[in-house]
């Protein structure tokens, strides 16, 4: 069972309190009814499902009820960071080289698997 930090509650809680809500940063067009078939298909169906770092949504459904975003390694299940809905996508380089950032998660020996292009 994962421990997940809710960026609203600002603490780690067990996975039982959360529900995964799929890929993050999918943008619903404000003019969705005029979207082309290709663009709508990309929004509705196509997902990255990378082996490595993925941006995903979670809801603290049995806690504060808020949706938020997370960066998680799909191989190790490790969370690199969590951030509130609406905040910009964090910079992957900064996440992967945390020694340059003072308040990041502790560094791990294993090299990350995701290539930049996959994100």
């Amino acid at each position: 069972m994962l421990l997940i930090k809710c960026p609203y509650c600002e603490e780690e809680r067990p996975e039982l309190e959360f529900r995964n809500a799929g890929e993050a940063h999918l943008v619903r067009s404000p003019a969705i009814s005029e979207q082309s078939d290709e663009d709508f298909a990309a929004f509705l169906y196509f997902r990255q499902n990378p082996k490595g770092l993925q941006f995903e949504r979670w809801r603290h459904i049995h806690g504060c009820g808020r949706f938020f975003n997370a960066v998680r390694d799909s191989v190790s299940d490790k969370f690199l960071t969590v951030y509130k809905a609406g905040e910009p996508r964090p910079d992957v380089e900064t996440l992967l080289n945390p020694e340059t950032v003072s308040d990041a998660e502790p560094a791990k020996k294993r090299a990350p698997r995701a290539k930049k292009g996959e994100l």
Partner: protein, 1001 residues
């Protein structure tokens, strides 16, 4: 030699730690035996001279006791307290005996000594690995009818208990700074050192007491005390500390993400009369900040012909039986080894007065003090030799010795053989933690390599072979890890003497069981896999260890290959002529040892399996004798049978009563969401297909909610109570997901809208009063609301009071009759229900259940989302185009509805069906065809979604989804059923009061 049956004949006086006066009586296959308090079943059987304990899985070969721990592959027995408390496949080496313990051997018929199934051993040349995959291919039908039932009857170990388990199991969550797995020397040292800092420590060990190998390594001292005494005292001092939890008889079976470790504590399996309030096992779910793995190493057997004969054991097991239990595994014990550690066992046995005729060492020129010591005790040490075969069947009777390179054979008479091929570090939990093991080429073993979690391995499981090295490592790890959690303190070093290094040895088949032989040299005892089988797998083209494993089933038994994996891997690597790391090690999975379903299921049984939701009026329904149906977690009144009525009669009566007088129905389970805020109408515009901005205050509207793909997700009636306040209802089953769907859009897509969502499902009790007399019934009870048609027409809502309590009174209908849904605060539900019922009873008011509700709505063609829709139905398909706001530019699903396939011809559309024979009621789910004379498989053009007998219509009615259904009105279609084809006519979906005049009555 004959098998002894008098109790304890192999117990040696003055040896071991059990108290001779404390006897325990138990039975094995009906035979009464005596053991001592503290015995495992295995030690007690051995004390009685019993080695033959079971029959093997595939060949039904006689099997004995191999080990003295949880790695045991052979000695699996059935333990039965009573009919409902019965456990098959219990390892005799783990089960402690108690007065009255009843044990049966398994996998034999008619008896353990004479087993018909042993014929498989004679025919074994015809039963190679992969036999099943190749043999039972033809004829095709025979698999299901002949082969599978026969194989299933013959296969499997143990017999599943026939009755529900009456034992209780408990569950506990725990958090700690440092979890130490393993209570051997390293584990105790690590726990002690971590505990000295003040950190919160949990230490667990699968044995009844701590000590690990210290229980039999009698030549060891730690801190100047004999090793076992040090272990016992250390455990006691740990128990006394407030910051330490000591769990014995507790197996860490699973290591999950972020240091989440599952433990099972066996609480009463060793007790003669466990208290009725005592759980059998307790599941611990531990979240540790740091984990120290001190899981030790497991001794490997030697792979040679007939190495599975009862009486052949691991050397460390023989040592444990002697030094802990005072039991000699035989009177004439041969030794076969490829490393030093077996010598210590031989020396202990010899010193205890047991005849040790020979030590056979495969090494050519081994040198070590223990070898000299063995020789000085007069034991014949034969180096550069191998045991080529074991004689005897139900018990080993002799061993044949030859030089490794071949040469003259000599036979030595023995009644037991102890063996050691070396030690395999137990990296199971480390591997489960997703750590990557690394190959230690010098010592031919896998060790923890790259860590994936916050844990450290210490001692033998980390390849630290010497005792002092293991203790130093453990003390340092305990202090360091506790320090990392914020507890700094002094840790005391420990000084050890003695002990044998657990290093080197051999892996793979021993001389005489090589590729040029066809002998039965077992690698995996539990699944009957021989060295020959592994080589066959390679010849058959299995080149990855994962494939070899699946082809041979090596390591796939319940012991997870604790003794066999490395041997199998080495034999495969040799056959492939590739280095071992290139062939790879299979990944270890949880559980480390089998875990009972009881521990996992725990309290989640019977009433506690899933919460039951009951409406405030539930007890009233029950008192009326209602039958209930489950709708999600809800119990809903299904129908109210009166004396002599079956369901059909009750439903007919209820349906007629609603149309002729009035009915009362508990609709409390409907999902309810309060949508409030200045942008509430705007929000609903985006979440529902319908327009909401212009809905007047006090008015209701039927809304349809889509998913982004355009398919119907939910429906319900929405009331506007104020400009900025809506009372939304959802389907009973859909309430939680609709709430989640709304929150998702509000929080992430439309966060600019100022709206609050609150689930109010359980705040309101809902009493539906439906029928021509509905208004007459409720009128005298209502205060402050004008109920006239003019003031409160169909589809309107008013706030006021009923029976003196506040109400939101909805005038709406799911029956097609004029009617009301009275919402009152849940606590008043029952009182208001009873008041309304008492008032209406003289006027014919009849309680009706969900079945009548379904029939009545179907008579009117009202859909139920999830019954008449299935996640592929659009509003157009369901005939609800009118509910889509034509001028809206956005709502969830607007783009989905424009998809080509959703607007194309040939979609399934909702229609009504009337059977040509009015008395035939179709089956829901039945397929519909246009031409019943087609050969099978026919072209299916739709299916029945709802079907009932309608007493009000005097005939059966049905709804169906049919391709291009709305163009087929009046057509005859066919429903082929096993007992004939049913003719149906396609109709509209409204069967009763087509003009809808009754709604306004």
């Amino acid at each position: 030699m004959s098998i002894q049956s008098h109790s304890g004949s192999n117990r040696i006086a003055g040896v071991g730690r059990l108290v001779p006066a404390k006897t325990v009586r138990f039975t094995f296959d009906g035979q009464s035996l005596t053991g001592l308090e503290g015995d495992t079943l295995a030690s007690a059987l051995l004390a009685n001279g019993i080695h033959l304990v079971g029959r093997s899985f595939k060949y039904h070969r006689p099997r004995g006791i191999l080990s003295a721990g949880s790695e045991e592959p052979n000695a699996l027995v059935d333990v039965e307290r009573d009919k409902s408390r019965k456990q098959p496949n219990v390892r005799a080496t783990v089960q402690e005996i108690y007065d009255g313990l009843q044990v049966k051997s398994q996998n034999r018929w008619p008896s353990l000594t004479f087993d018909i199934g042993a014929i498989n051993d004679v025919f074994s040349p015809m039963l190679p690995a992969g036999f099943y995959y190749k043999t039972f291919m033809w004829p095709k039908f025979a698999w299901k009818t002949i082969y599978e039932p026969k194989i299933r009857a013959a296969a499997g170990l143990g017999v599943v208990p026939g009755e529900a388990d009456t034992d209780r199991y408990s569950n506990r969550f725990a958090h700690c700074d440092v979890l130490v797995v393993g209570g051997g020397a390293a584990g105790l040292a690590a726990a002690l050192s971590a505990a000295q800092t003040g950190a919160k420590v949990i230490i667990c060990d699968e044995q009844a007491e701590a000590g690990g190998a210290l229980r039999y390594e009698t030549d060891v001292t730690i801190d100047g005390k004999p090793g076992y005494d040090w272990a016992t005292e250390t455990l006691a001092s740990l128990r006394a500390l407030e910051n330490v939890t000591v769990l014995t008889r507790t197996t860490a079976f699973g290591y999950y993400a972020q240091n989440f470790v599952g433990l099972v504590e066996r609480i009463s399996d060793h007790l003669s009369n466990p208290g009725s309030d005592m759980p059998r096992e307790r599941l611990w779910q531990v979240r540790a900040r740091k984990v120290i793995l001190a899981t030790g190493a497991i001794e490997r057997h030697m792979v040679f012909a007939n190495n599975d004969r009862p009486g052949i054991l691991l050397a460390s097991a023989a040592r444990a039986y002697l030094n802990q239990y005072g039991v000699a595994v035989g009177r004439k014990v041969g030794v076969y080894t490829a490393n030093d550690s077996a010598y210590a066992a031989a020396i202990d046995l010899k010193r205890a007065g047991v005849d040790v005729p020979v030590i056979v060492d495969t090494r050519d020129n081994p040198s070590s003090p223990v070898i000299e010591e063995a020789r000085s005790l007069g034991i014949d040490v034969v180096t550069g030799h191998a045991v080529f075969s074991a004689g005897g069947k139900r018990r080993v009777s002799s061993i044949s010795i030859r030089p490794n390179k071949g040469g003259n054979e000599r036979k030595v008479v023995v009644d037991a053989l102890i063996m050691s091929a070396g030690w395999t570090p137990s990296v199971h939990l480390f591997s489960q933690s997703r750590g990557k093991v690394a190959w230690d080429a010098a010592n031919e073993r896998f060790l923890p390599g790259t860590y994936a979690q916050d844990c450290v391995s210490v001692g033998a499981c980390n390849g630290s072979d010497g005792l002092q090295q293991a203790l130093d490592e453990a003390v340092a790890a305990g202090g360091k890890l506790a320090g990392e959690t914020g507890f700094k303190g002094k840790t005391a070093a420990l000084k050890a003497t003695g002990g044998t290094d657990w290093v080197l040895g051999m892996i793979g088949s021993a001389p005489g069981a090589g590729a040029d032989t066809t002998v039965k040299a077992f690698v995996d005892f539990q699944n009957d896999v021989t060295a020959k089988d592994v080589r066959l797998a390679v010849r058959e083209g299995m080149h990855s260890i994962e494939h070899v494993k699946r082809f041979t089933t090596n390591g796939m038994a319940t012991d997870q290959g604790k003794t066999s994996n490395l041997h199998g891997l080495a034999i495969a690597a040799e056959a492939l002529n590739r280095p071992i790391p290139a062939v790879g090690l299979t990944t270890f999975r949880a559980p480390f040892t089998p875990v009972t379903f009881g521990a996992i299921v725990n309290h989640a049984r019977h009433d506690l399996f899933d919460p039951t939701r009951r409406t405030p009026m539930h007890a009233w329904h029950a008192a009326q004798g209602a039958a209930f149906e489950d709708v999600g977690q809800w119990k809903r009144a299904w129908y109210y049978p009166q004396a002599g009525e079956d369901m059909h009669a009750a439903v007919n009566r209820e349906c007629v009563a609603v149309r002729n007088q009035a009915g009362i129905f508990d609709a409390s389970t409907l999902g309810k969401i309060e949508v409030v805020g200045p942008d509430a109408a705007k929000f609903l515009e985006l979440l529902y297909t319908n327009p909401w901005e212009k809905l007047g205050v006090g008015r209701l509207r039927y809304g349809i909610m889509l998913r982004e793909d355009g398919f119907i997700y939910d429906d319900g009636v929405v009331g506007r109570l104020a400009e900025d306040r809506f009372h939304v209802t959802t389907t009973t089953g859909g309430a939680p997901r609709v709430m989640n769907h709304m929150e998702d859009y509000l929080q992430t897509e439309f966060p600019h809208l100022n709206v609050w969502l609150t689930s109010t499902t359980e705040q309101w009790a809902v009493i539906a009063v439906q029928g021509p007399k509905a208004r007459e019934i409720i009128a005298p009870l209502v205060e402050g609301i004008d109920l006239s048609n003019e003031a409160m027409p169909h589809m309107s809502v008013r706030e006021g009071r009923i029976c003196g309590v506040p109400t939101r009174l909805f005038r709406m209908s799911f029956t097609g009759e004029a009617g009301y849904e009275i919402n009152v605060p849940a606590d008043y539900g029952r009182a208001v229900w009873e008041a309304v019922y008492e008032r209406g009873k003289p006027l014919g008011l009849t309680p009706y259940g969900t079945e009548a509700m379904h029939v009545l709505r179907a008579e009117k063609g009202y859909i139920i989302v999830g019954q008449d829709t299935d996640g592929t139905v659009t509003p157009q398909d369901a005939g609800l185009t009118w509910a889509i706001g034509k001028n809206k530019t956005d709502y969830v699903g607007i783009r989905g509805l424009l998809r080509r396939d959703l607007v194309a011809d040939g979609r399934k559309q909702l229609v009504g069906l009337k059977t040509k024979d009015a008395h035939v009621v179709l089956e829901e789910g039945a397929q519909i065809v246009a031409n019943p004379n087609q050969p099978v498989p026919m072209t299916m053009i739709g299916h029945v979604t709802s079907s009932y007998w309608s007493q009000n219509c005097g005939r059966s009615i049905a709804m169906a989804l049919v391709i291009d259904g709305t163009k087929r009105l009046g057509e005859t279609l066919y429903v082929p059923m096993p007992d004939g084809v049913i003719e149906v006519e396609v109709t509209g979906t409204v069967f009763f009061d087509k003009k809808g005049e009754r709604l306004n009555g």
